[in-house]
């Protein structure tokens, strides 16, 4: 529980930081004029650095985890996706993994009932996990309207679809609800399920809290404490055109929002959020099961000390002859 309490302190710290900034025009201009570039550089460089480090480490052996029938005899039906025999299968497998969370969909839970283990489907993690990730993606796409002029058409379309229920003014986005639901689920299961609490690190909570901070302040701005959208757009366009403009004091909530976003972005390359890049590189998933069909090369394959047949026969020659076994040297 201590870890959880430590992690919660991140919320007041970020809020206080943003409050402090909002009181000084000079600080505001740093937050909106300099920090965005610093954060963006950290994010890009950090991300690239991590990918390069992973990419530099070779994959010495072909070790996919196979989850379906191998390609063998022609009359045996192989499973080309769960056990790919070539690039198209791998592509299919990775697409399933990335867009549908295939492996998480297999999730089960186990209980001992009546003196035996009973396995039950446990799809909640998959459902809320998928909801959470997809809504994050949609929210990110919607934000592109601040960074493009004229607004890219597909961004408008996504927003329209996302808000098609037309509840309230301004329209409530479905992705916002899904995002909050997903966050709540992921957070509560970490706090409530004893096993999950046991394996959780401070950082596991902090990540969720930071995202929650971003989401909640965003929603507050949209539905309760409206901010000047034109000023926001001008500022955002200033960032992307490398001509940051002084924005004046937009609103405290907005600065809190920005602080959460920037901390999250700058921390991302150093955190477990790198799973977003790593998932593409997992040798257990992204290799075809062609280990016996095609020789896989290990770049550092080095000679090792072996016990040769000659050494073996030298030791056992007499016994081999006595047993009537053929030998190389009489």
């Amino acid at each position: 529980m201590t870890k959880f309490l430590i992690s919660v302190t991140v919320i007041p710290i970020v809020i206080l930081l943003a409050l402090g900034i909002s009181m000084s025009p000079a600080m505001i201009s740093i937050l909106t004029g300099v920090i965005p570039y610093v954060v963006f550089v950290i994010l890009l460089a950090g991300f690239a650095y991590r990918i390069v480090i992973w990419g530099k480490a070779p994959v010495p052996f072909r070790i996919p985890t196979t989850c379906g029938q191998e390609k063998s005899l022609p009359w045996i039906k192989a499973n080309p996706v769960e056990n790919p025999a070539g690039p198209p299968g791998v592509l299919g497998r990775m697409a399933q993994e990335i867009f549908l969370f295939r492996s998480l969909f297999r999730n089960t839970s186990v209980k001992i009932i009546g003196g035996r283990p009973v396995y039950d489907g446990a799809k909640w993690l998959w459902l809320f996990g998928l909801m959470f990730h997809f809504s994050l993606l949609i929210v990110a796409i919607r934000h592109l309207r601040f960074f493009t002029e004229p607004v890219t058409p597909c961004v408008g379309m996504v927003s329209a679809l996302d808000g098609f229920l037309e509840i309230g003014v301004p329209t409530l986005y479905l992705s916002d609800i899904a995002l909050l639901a997903g966050l709540t689920f992921l957070f509560l299961r970490r706090v409530i399920i004893p096993q999950l609490r046991y394996i959780s690190l401070v950082t596991d909570y902090v990540v969720l809290l930071l995202i929650a901070g971003v989401a909640v302040t965003g929603l507050l701005m949209r539905h309760f404490f409206p901010v000047d959208l034109n000023a926001l757009k001008t500022m955002a366009m200033g960032w992307v055109t490398f001509a940051p403009v002084a924005s004046g004091n937009i609103s405290v909530i907005f600065y809190i929002h920005l602080c959460f976003v920037f901390i999250l972005m700058a921390w991302l390359p150093f955190s477990k959020l790198m799973h977003m890049g790593g998932v593409f590189m997992s040798p257990a998933r992204n290799l075809a099961n062609t280990s016996r069909m095609k020789r896989h090369i290990n770049p550092w394959n080095a000679p090792v000390k072996v016990h040769t047949y000659v050494e073996y026969e030298d030791e056992f020659r007499d016994k081999m002859k006595a047993a009537g076994l053929p030998v190389e040297k009489e």
Binding site: T65, T66, G68, I112, Q195, S291, R292, K305, Y312
Partner: protein
């Protein structure tokens, strides 16, 4: 096999999944009798040239580590982080979602949270963070980093030798993080400072010198095979050949030495010999490469390569066309995923073609080694075998997918095809417990020793209970498998959890049903049990 020292099944099944009150970093490892394996005898380390041979046991306070042990481990980690993308990635991207937690047979059977794959990996990951990441170096505990201490090392030893490298967690992980890979690296690191177990390294040392895990010398192998030929003649009236070290054979046959050493593996071996005789296969066993299994897999990548090298070397010396491999689990992990890369290319061999059916085994065209169930399934599909499944009518069979053929190859249908052609009473276990979701026997990866008995019975519990269900539902009395370790360890597991169920290889089942040319009227199966007719 004595179960006297371990709790009764009715007590063992009361598993508490509630984690302890103290944090895992503050819960020291407890070497409880029955849950760990003896250390390696010094002589075995010496004969393999491995570091730090000495007399010690895990329960000792002082493990007699080399003075600079910590540096050795950290240097070893650094080296492996640069050599294995899998290792580096798996250290970095886990989000601790916990999907793997209750997929591990050792966790299901023990409730010990450090047997959750995620936490077993954290044992290593926490040290990785402390010494190899910026945030870990700076923020330490706050970001889940911890110092490498003797206690941490002891914890590694206890839990990396409580993982059978079965890869079930990897099936469920959204990123495919494979605890087998982490355990393999963890064991490599432990090996650098001489912390390893005898049940792994004695077989490895034997295999290095005599060609097989059991240390059987050339004459002994011949005697055992001849003895089996006698038994076959007794049951069938047919005398089969025992080709050994034969130059000019078409095919080199490699199987785990356990198959010619002890029941019930011997019956499977008799099955191979009867099959090869019946189809007139020009093959040979080898005494130099008399082991399919490879306990190097449970030691280090180097050791895999050192032991595996014999297979291609012997195939080259004997001048065979290609290699056929018997029923074994981890052996096939090595053959399928490591052999060609480590000791290939096998350009001196020919692309495998069945001399009986003409089928080209295209899936093995580079490695040039075919799995016996692929070979036999092809024979049956082409009508080359006369089978009378009624000869197995006294057997009500279920089938255990062995971890490695399942999750490192995807060999599901071949054995089932043979089974369905060789017997009339076949029943699958529950879906959550077979194929890619199969449960380990609980004693693979070198853990199948007597001193580790409680942990074996715990780890094997999920498999055993799935068997018990089909026993109750369908009156199953036999457990089939394609793994030599299974044949030994599942037998013990059944005796403990599901008495009355015995274990057999698929080729024993096949040979029971095989009608051989010139055979007498068979009244018993290969075991000498009456056939019901």
């Amino acid at each position: 096999m004595s179960f006297a020292k371990i709790p009764k099944p009715d007590d063992l099944i009361n598993i508490d999944y509630a984690p302890p009150a103290s944090e895992w970093t503050k819960t020291p490892v407890d070497f409880r009798p029955g849950t760990w394996s003896y250390s390696t005898a010094a002589k075995n380390l010496v004969s393999l040239g491995l570091p730090n041979p000495r007399a010690w046991q895990p329960t000792d306070e002082d493990w007699k580590l080399p003075e600079n042990w910590k540096q050795i481990i950290l240097d070893g980690m650094k080296e492996r982080l640069e050599k294995y993308r899998s290792f580096r990635l798996f250290m970095d991207i886990c989000v601790r979602c916990g999907a793997c937690a209750d997929k591990c047979h050792f966790y299901i059977g023990s409730g010990d949270p450090k047997n959750m794959p995620v936490l077993r990996a954290e044992l290593l990951r926490s040290v990785y963070r402390r010494y190899f990441t910026m945030s870990g170096k700076r923020f330490g505990k706050l970001v889940g980093a911890r110092d490498l201490t003797v206690d941490v090392l002891k914890e590694w030893f206890y839990y990396f030798y409580q993982c059978t490298e079965c890869r079930r967690c990897s099936v469920f992980c959204p990123y495919g993080i494979d605890q087998a890979e982490i355990t393999m690296i963890g064991r490599e690191l432990l090996n650098l400072v001489g912390c390893n177990i005898n049940w792994v390294l004695e077989p490895a040392a034997n295999c290095f010198r005599t060609g097989n895990h059991l240390g059987i010398q050339p004459g002994g192998i011949k005697d055992m095979l001849e003895f089996m030929a006698d038994d076959i003649e007794d049951r069938t009236g047919v005398r089969v050949d025992v080709p050994l070290n034969k130059k000019g054979a078409d095919i080199l046959f490699i199987t785990p030495s356990a198959d010619y050493f002890a029941d019930p593996g011997t019956y499977t071996c008799m099955g191979y010999m009867m099959l090869f005789h019946e189809i007139g296969l020009n093959y040979t066993f080898s005494t130099y490469a008399s082991e399919g299994g490879n306990f190097g897999l449970f030691t280090s990548h180097d050791m895999i390569k050192r032991l595996n090298a014999k297979i291609y070397a012997e195939a080259k010396r004997l001048g065979v066309k290609w290699i056929l491999g018997g029923e074994c689990g981890h052996m096939w992990r090595v053959i399928h995923q490591y052999m060609d890369t480590m000791n290939g290319p096998a350009d001196f061999l020919m692309e495998p073609v069945s001399p009986i059916t003409g089928t080209r085994f295209e899936n093995a065209r580079a490695t040039k080694m075919v799995h016996i169930t692929e070979f036999t399934a092809d024979l049956i599909a082409n009508g080359k075998l006369k089978l009378d499944p009624r000869k197995n009518d006294h057997i009500r069979l279920t089938f255990h997918d062995s971890c490695n053929p399942a999750r490192a190859m995807g060999l599901f249908e071949e054995p089932r095809y043979i089974i369905k052609n060789a017997c009339n009473h076949f029943f699958e276990m529950a879906e959550d417990t077979i194929r890619e979701k199969t449960f380990c026997c609980g004693a693979g990866a070198g853990l199948g020793n007597d001193e580790n008995m409680e942990m074996r019975m715990r780890g094997g519990m999920p498999r055993a209970m799935a068997v018990r269900d089909v026993v109750k539902k369908h009156g199953v009395n036999r457990l089939g498998c394609i793994c030599a370790i299974d044949r030994a360890t599942l037998t013990t597991l059944m005796d403990y959890w599901v008495p009355g169920v015995s274990v057999m290889g698929v080729h024993e089942l096949l040979a029971n049903a095989l009608i051989m040319t010139g055979e007498k009227k068979r009244t018993t199966d290969l075991r000498g049990d009456e056939i019901s007719e």
